[in-house]
């Protein structure tokens, strides 16, 4: 899967709204910069495409900088025989890495923690009652790990679900922020994640303005959390716009 040549990849950066205090440092007078030369509040360019896997009911490919993810959605299909009866649908999520996803030699393995976090992020947005007794499978494959993997996986999964025609309350977008020293960096890359003091990830429904998942780890001060929250909310709604455009483009292309 390569990006369409010439297609402009939209980027997005959140704006701090209603922030009463000025940022401690201005982007320009920092003595260090981000590895890829971005501003601290600037997200990586987001390339999104639907319909990447033809055999799946729905699929999406996302490329945020170096992080490349493919998500396929299967079903609704019959639940496994061993499962007990349930009159609402089930969601089965799996996140796995390719063997070549990260520079360190490793095996392409299932990521249990990410799988359950993806499940938690998605279950609130899917209308489970529309497919009783059946299961929707969401398989995410990280082709290249370049930082903020989980948030890319979650956003990409919601796009794939929308492509599959699964009824949803809203799209889901996820954005993460890293805290290094006193500065906040949105959409961190692997190097930044490696030396962060704290990480923050938010998934929200952009048009309903509701948060479905919030993960905070490490050391945070209250004002920093506030700022991170505002950054994420704004970035989420901007990412939502990009995703909507992508879906609309795919829909209008299929009609022609």
């Amino acid at each position: 899967m390569a990006a369409k040549p010439g297609a402009a990849t939209p980027t997005y950066s959140p704006k701090l709204v209603g922030s009463s205090r000025l940022p401690i440092f201005k982007d320009s007078d920092l003595d260090w910069s981000r590895p890829d030369g971005r501003g601290f509040h600037q997200c990586r360019p987001a390339l999104l495409q639907t319909g990447a896997v033809s055999s799946a009911s729905g699929s999406a490919y996302a490329e945020f900088g170096n992080t490349k993810v493919i998500v396929s959605v299967f079903g609704p299909r019959e639940s496994k025989k061993a499962m007990v009866f349930s009159d609402v649908g089930r969601l089965n999520c799996n996140v796995s890495y390719t063997t070549f996803a990260s520079p360190t030699i490793g095996q392409g393995t299932d990521h249990k923690e990410y799988s359950s976090m993806l499940h938690k992020a998605l279950e609130g947005v899917i209308m489970m009652e529309t497919f009783p007794k059946t299961t929707v499978d969401v398989f995410a494959l990280v082709l290249e790990s370049g930082g903020s993997d989980l948030s890319v996986v979650i956003s990409c999964a919601s796009l794939a679900l929308a492509d599959a025609g699964i009824m949803m309350y809203d799209l889901i977008t996820a954005v993460s922020v890293s805290c290094i020293g006193k500065s906040l960096m949105i959409d961190p890359v692997t190097e930044e994640e490696g030396c962060e003091d704290g990480s923050f990830m938010m998934t929200c429904m952009p048009s309903r303005y509701e948060i479905t998942q919030l993960t905070v780890t490490g050391e945070w001060t209250t004002p920093n959390i506030n700022e991170a929250m505002q950054l994420c909310l704004d970035a989420c709604s901007k990412l939502g716009e990009i995703m909507r455009d992508c879906l609309k483009q795919a829909a209008s292309a299929s009609e022609e």
Partner: protein
Amino acid sequence: MTTELVTPGDVIGKATEFKAGKGAYVKDTIIYASLTGTRRIVSPLPESLDQRAIVEVTGHKAHGPIPGTGSVVIARVTKVMARMAAVDILCVGSKAVRENFAGVIRQQDVRATEIDKVDMHQSFRAGDIVRAMVLSLGDARAYYLSTAKNELGVVSAESAAGETMVPISWTEMQCPLSGQTEQRKVAKVGN
């Protein structure tokens, strides 16, 4: 009628003006889309009490059909046992399913009369195509189907000679090659 492309979560109207139809839902008097597709406004049925126009989203790509209680399905018999027949659901309504769904027709659901005297082997044979109605979502394994109606039952079956048989009564089908009759719970097809 107006059309425009919407995506899940887009606001498509106010509940005071419209009623949410397919692919839409209401929350706090606002109607949102739940599918990607085109927004359409449909006028309500003249006899309905609620005269609000219906706003719906017709998916450009809906997920495959899934059997629901009351839907009529076409299924292939895979196994006939003494008390039930196992089937694979092929179509729900007029749409083919994308994934296989298992169903069972229990002895008491084969026909409407003399339900305790039903012999499963005289009603179905593996490979038969049957039309059935979904009674319930069943258990964890299979949907419960019923053929207890005139228009439900075997619609197509092959004889021992390998020819498609012709129905001659609601319990019998005949092979056009050998003239042999076989017992089936035959569906009344057409008019």
